[in-house]
């Protein structure tokens, strides 16, 4: 009996010491999610009060030709889609229109022409070859092209895309493009030339096979326009030579891996409007071979390969996928005004989900900048981050930054 008591006494401390004192892991996960809440960012289709657009009237101004008000429209061609048929009206000299079913091809050597599209087709398109800049009015049109772009502008000159007041227009591409040799067709709306979007109507772009709204030159959005883009297989808005947001309400939803809400191979200039981008895709490998290492591309609200300037308007960016960023610029990012709200909630993977990132400098001297990154830097300048004096709020945390003027 004495031995049993001694043995029990000896073992008692060990028996009573077999419990871990670690925190409950599930509770930690819940607390981690509750620790800091970013602001809510969601698509916003509400009306936006905007100051009237200031039309440049100086013919020597390099952007004088960006204003349809400065263009004399001498001819109007009406193209109305109705199921399997197309109705044409206003045909004129030097404008040839061929319709294969509801796939319309325009060949024009005439200038000062306004092409007005209306009606609905589930298997149609509008393609134009023009020697001159032209006006393209969307007057309540819905085009779905199962084999490519809904609108394909092969003219390398300016297209004035005017959204008629009170109309809703929808362009939808197909999952697989049937291309013509020697031609490009990069998205549901594709233009070889500059695209100037104006008017106060609404344009919905649904991209499933390519990008959404594309120009191989630059794109300008003027106050009043409303553009909603959803893209699962490409960028929302893509331009080779710059994106200028003077105004308008842009709502862009990106679900594909590695794609951007707005992608510009040159500068981005934001002066007004309200642009909201939500991306949910993860990073993706874009290049891999025996000779080269794999490179990755992550989602971003806006990816600017040049210099990005924000002097007005509102940018709301949210990326939820792995490595998804808010603003990502190769050149400088210059913020002198406007409201920038960025939230990234993705995890680190191939890429870091930074809120605002520049490979060069970031200069902030105005506006209100808010950036939150759940898993990475809210703001990161590979060069120098400069915040000018005069701010009313400056909060720099490891996961959140607020700089308000």
């Amino acid at each position: 009996m004495k031995k049993i008591i001694i043995l029990f006494t000896a073992l008692l401390p060990f028996i009573t010491s077999c419990t871990k004192d670690d925190s409950d892991f599930d509770t930690l996960l819940i607390l981690a999610d509750q620790a800091i809440k970013p602001i809510d960012i969601d698509l916003d289709y509400s009306a936006l009060e905007e100051a009237p657009d200031e039309v440049i009237t100086d013919p020597d101004d390099p952007y004088y030709n960006d204003y349809v008000e400065n263009e004399s429209i001498l001819r109007t061609v009406y193209i109305h889609y109705e199921g399997e048929t197309v109705t044409l009206d206003g045909a004129t000299n030097r404008v040839s229109i061929n319709a294969n079913g509801t796939h319309v091809v325009v060949n024009s050597s005439a200038g000062h022409v306004d092409y007005v599209l209306s009606g609905t087709t589930d298997n149609g398109s509008f393609k134009i070859y023009s020697d001159s800049k032209f006006k393209l009015t969307l007057n309540g049109v819905s085009i779905t092209n199962p084999t490519g772009a809904a609108i394909n502008d092969q003219c390398g000159k300016t297209v004035y895309l005017v959204l008629t007041d009170g109309t809703t227009n929808t362009l939808t591409d197909g999952a697989i493009y049937s291309t013509t040799s020697g031609e490009q067709m990069k998205g549901a709306f594709f233009s070889e030339g500059q695209v100037i979007v104006s008017g106060t109507g609404t344009l919905n772009v649904n991209a499933t096979g390519g990008h959404g709204f594309v120009s191989d030159d630059y794109i300008r959005f003027r106050p009043g326009c409303k553009l909603n883009v959803t893209s699962s297989a490409g960028h929302g808005i893509k331009a080779n030579d710059g994106v200028f947001i003077d105004g308008g309400v842009l709502n862009i939803t990106i679900t594909g891996d590695g794609y951007k809400g707005i992608k510009s191979d040159l500068d981005v200039d934001v002066k007004g409007g309200r642009t909201t981008v939500i991306t949910s895709g993860n990073s993706r490998i874009v290049e891999e071979s025996l000779e080269t290492l794999a490179d990755t591309s992550s989602c971003a609200g806006i990816k600017c390969e040049g210099i990005m300037t924000v002097s007005g308007g509102t940018l709301n960016m949210k990326s939820t996928g792995e490595g998804g960023k808010g603003l990502n610029t190769v050149g400088d990012l210059v913020i002198t005004g406007g409201n920038i709200n960025v939230v990234t909630t993705g995890i680190k993977g191939f890429s870091s989900p930074k809120g605002i990132k520049s490979d060069a400098d970031i200069n902030i001297s105005g506006g209100n900048t808010y950036s939150y990154s759940k898993s990475s830097d809210p703001i990161d300048a590979q060069g120098t981050l400069t915040v000018a004096e005069g701010y009313t709020t400056r909060e720099t945390l490891s996961r959140r930054v607020k700089i308000f003027y």
């Binding site: 010491s17 004192d21 670690d22 800091i36 680190k348």
Partner: protein, 250 residues
């Protein structure tokens, strides 16, 4: 057990009962259980071995186990020296690191790790009536080898390996102890205060206990220890210990 022994034990329990509430309520409690053996070669020298177990978290969690080897040498009637090696196997407490705004960065659960320790001491003693006062100065060096363990990264939402770097630490321990020799009693009460210093004041131990010599070969020990931590990077916290020990003398 005579009345005097009962009085000694009652006094000890009373002192412990008074000491515990003096410390912060939030302090931890644990147990120390040890067993050792000692062999004297002659009147001056001997060797010993001791195994020890500690618990924390109000006795619920194993904190560490250790095994020590020690050699002793009595230089003269009032001064003795000893030196030893100790193998420590620690249950390192969890660590939750935060970002500067308070959000979670990563969480490393508790893990078991090994440390090696060597030490050398000089103890000077002076008898006054029935109380022997002793001052022990002990240098020790503890080395923690590098260890790979896991942690959860809240930013990446995944578990990842993490390296706990190797580390060496020198510590000077200074202990003042009073042993009370009660005539014709098997009990030998004692009390001590000990300070730990590395580059700064690390911690302090207050102890109160008694030895109980069942026979010449078998000695038991019961004690209370309060450990106050000032600045310690080993993960120690303020804690109350109840200690039980046994020693066999060859």
């Amino acid at each position: 057990m005579g009345r005097r022994e009962i009085n000694i034990i009652a006094s000890l329990v009373l002192c412990v009962a008074l000491l515990v509430p003096m410390s912060a309520v939030a302090d931890d409690t644990g147990m120390i259980v040890s067993a050792g053996a000692e062999k004297k070669f002659n009147k001056k020298s001997g060797i010993g071995i001791e195994a020890e177990f500690r618990s924390r978290n109000d006795f619920r969690t194993a904190d560490r186990v250790s095994l020590a080897l020690v050699g002793q040498y009595k230089i003269n009637s009032w001064l003795k020296a000893d030196a030893g090696y100790q193998l420590l196997i620690d249950n390192n407490i969890e660590k939750l690191s935060l970002h500067d705004e308070g959000t979670f960065n990563n969480w490393r659960p508790s893990y078991w790790g090994t440390r090696h320790r060597v030490y050398a001491s000089l103890t000077a003693s002076q008898k006054w009536q029935r109380v022997t006062f002793s001052l022990r100065e002990r240098w020790r060096y503890t080395y923690r080898p590098e260890k790979t363990t896991t942690r959860y990264d809240f930013d990446d939402n995944e578990w990842e390996d993490t390296q706990v770097r190797s580390k060496g630490k020198h510590t000077l321990r200074s202990r003042l102890k009073a042993d009370w020799n009660i005539p014709k009693s098997k009990f030998s009460p004692w009390a001590s205060i000990e300070l730990f210093n590395s580059l700064s004041f690390d911690k302090m131990r207050l102890q109160l206990g008694t030895d109980f010599a069942l026979t010449k070969k078998h000695t038991f020990e019961v004690f209370y220890r309060y450990q106050y931590v000032n600045s310690d990077d080993d993960g120690d916290e303020n804690i109350h210990y109840l200690g039980l020990g046994y020693k066999f003398k060859f």
